[in-house]
Amino acid sequence: MPPVPVDPAALRAAYERQLAFLVPVVDELEREAIAPSPLLDDDWRGPAAEAAHELLRDLRAGLRDAADAIDDEVRRLRHRIAELM
């Protein structure tokens, strides 16, 4: 059976709804990736200082990684919307 044709306006509305979910997520992740450390200065020393540094590095990398991945989807959705115009 041939695929059922979908109304482009309905598709566009669906993609925009997805954007409405995802764009704020990207914005927040980008902000969180450059926010001050969640660790308050507590005279970290020795192995604890290294662990704190590693945690901060992991968190920032993880936040950037998630922001980039979701941003890819945002760009792909915007591209799809542009194609439908």
Binding site: P24, E28, L39, L40, A66, A69
Partner: protein, 478 residues
């Protein structure tokens, strides 16, 4: 806030980090560690919310099928936060366990030595008193004569020496020593009764009341021994209202509450009212006025301290009760108590009495760790770890209320020499109160906020107003 006058030589706060034991636990953390855990928890919640939104985006009908690695990426960040938070918790538990183990060993060793040597020393003293009083008197006189006779006499020399060397009695180690002594006095009694020292040293083998590790017994012994020499005699008390005046603002923050604790008058009661609301009261209780063991007309004396630690009925406590009744506080009215030093001890006795509807407290440097608190109180007990006065009531045994501790003179800065026991002075606690007001952990901020709101929220209501009563007590007769 301004620096206390007696700390003129120290330009800035030199205290250590705030050590926090949240209500209902015995695990000690720093404020910074708890605040870091709070922030990680907030980041976890943020990741969880983002996962929810990504799943929502993926579920949109006719929507573009999203990559399936988005949620795992967010989950990895959330899991890393959780892992770090767990590590913080384990570090705090490990620190607490180590401290508890060290303290338990010290307490057992102190109990063993007290049971072993205490009876022998007391026996030797008794033999000297009975059979060779001349030797004892000669020794005492020789010792007294050996003290240089300064401008203030020999007592003045001793006082000046202690003022010049506050470091001798201003350290966490000295406070621990005092605490060990207070919980070992009952072991001396066990030794006198013939209990072997190794049995007396076993945890739980104590002449204790309500699990207080023998602290009350030690205070009772002090009362009994002192009474042989006319000391520590309790009396009846009276109370008189000194003044009544309007209060224009409620205290916000621990420093302002500490500053409202009276020095000249022993009891300050603030009554908060609002249209259609039952009255609320904040009772502020001042510190010891005289350290003479011989009772005169001042109820805020050493006798009240010893009776309070012993769980008896000190005159200073009866003054508070009379003042509360005079201020019109009824048994069901909500009350917050706040006290410094002896005032904190009396505040905890008010709570423990169960006669008043105390809903919150803030005590500073109170020797009251052996007094059990009821469940459901908000507020906090504040102690400087280099202040030995709270240690006179032994270790902190009750953990139903948030415990906040801090070394007032940490690091290499020598304590000021203007007043004796500087870590127990208002200045030492003013710095700690400022640190509490600047705390970042939710555990501290929530309790500080609840104490603030208790008074401030009434003044924001229609008809909100407050009145202050100052009271002075007096000992009368026998």
């Amino acid at each position: 806030m301004s620096r206390p006058a007696e700390f003129g030589g120290i330009a800035e706060d030199v205290g250590g980090p705030l050590l926090i034991t949240p209500a209902g636990t015995t695990v000690v953390s720093t404020d910074a560690l708890l605040a870091s855990a709070d922030r990680l928890r907030a980041l976890e919640r943020s990741m969880h919310e983002k996962v929810r939104r990504v799943i929502g985006a993926d579920a949109v009908a006719l929507g573009w099928p999203l990559r399936d690695d988005l949620v795992p990426r967010l989950e990895r960040v959330r899991a890393r936060c959780e892992q770090a938070r767990d590590a913080f918790g384990r570090a705090a538990e490990q620190y607490t366990r180590t401290e508890e183990t060290i303290e338990a060993l010290q307490r057992q060793a102190a109990g063993f030595l007290a049971a072993l040597l205490g009876p022998a020393l007391l026996g030797a003293l008794a033999r000297l008193i009975l059979f060779q009083p001349g030797v004892l008197i000669a020794g005492a006189l020789a010792g007294w004569a050996a003290i240089p006779d300064g401008p203030g006499g020999r007592l003045g020399t001793v006082r000046d020496f202690l003022l010049a060397h506050p470091e001798l009695i201003t350290s966490p180690e000295f406070a621990r020593f005092v605490s060990l002594v207070t919980t070992s006095l009952d072991d001396v009694a066990l030794g006198l009764m013939g209990v072997p020292a190794w049995i007396a040293a076993i945890p739980g083998v104590d002449l204790e009341r309500g699990g207080d590790q023998g602290v009350a017994f030690g205070a009772l012994s002090t009362v009994a021994l002192g009474s042989l020499f006319g000391m520590f005699r309790e009396t009846a008390v009276t109370v008189a209202r000194e003044s009544t005046s309007a209060v224009t603002s409620a205290p916000t923050g621990s420093r302002e509450r500490l500053d409202r604790i009276p020095e000249a008058s022993p009891v300050r009661i603030e009554k908060y009212e609002a249209d259609g609301m039952p009255p609320r009261y904040v009772v502020y209780l001042g510190p010891t006025e005289t350290f003479s063991p011989l009772a005169d007309d001042e109820p805020r004396d050493l006798t009240s301290n010893v009776y309070g630690v012993a769980g008896l009925d000190p005159g200073a406590y009866r003054v508070v009760e009379l003042a509360m009744a005079d201020a019109g506080i009824r048994p069901g009215d909500e009350v917050v108590v706040s006290g410094f030093s002896q005032g904190g001890l009396m505040a905890d006795l008010v709570i423990a009495s169960g006669d008043w509807n105390v809903v919150g407290k803030q005590t500073f440097g109170a020797p009251s760790g052996n007094i059990p608190m009821p469940d459901g109180l908000f507020g906090m007990a504040v102690r400087n770890t280099d202040d030995f006065i709270p240690a006179l009531a032994g270790p902190q045994l009750d953990h139903r209320v948030l415990q906040v501790e801090r070394e007032a003179f940490a690091g290499d800065t020598p304590p000021p020499t203007a007043l004796a026991a500087p870590a127990h002075q208002r200045g030492g606690y003013a710095d700690t109160a400022d640190a509490i007001d600047a705390a970042e952990s939710a555990a501290v901020r929530e309790q500080n906020g609840m104490l603030d709101r208790f008074a401030t929220e009434y003044l924001e209501l229609p008809g909100g107003r407050a009145t202050q009563y100052l009271y002075r007590g007096e000992r009368v007769g026998d």
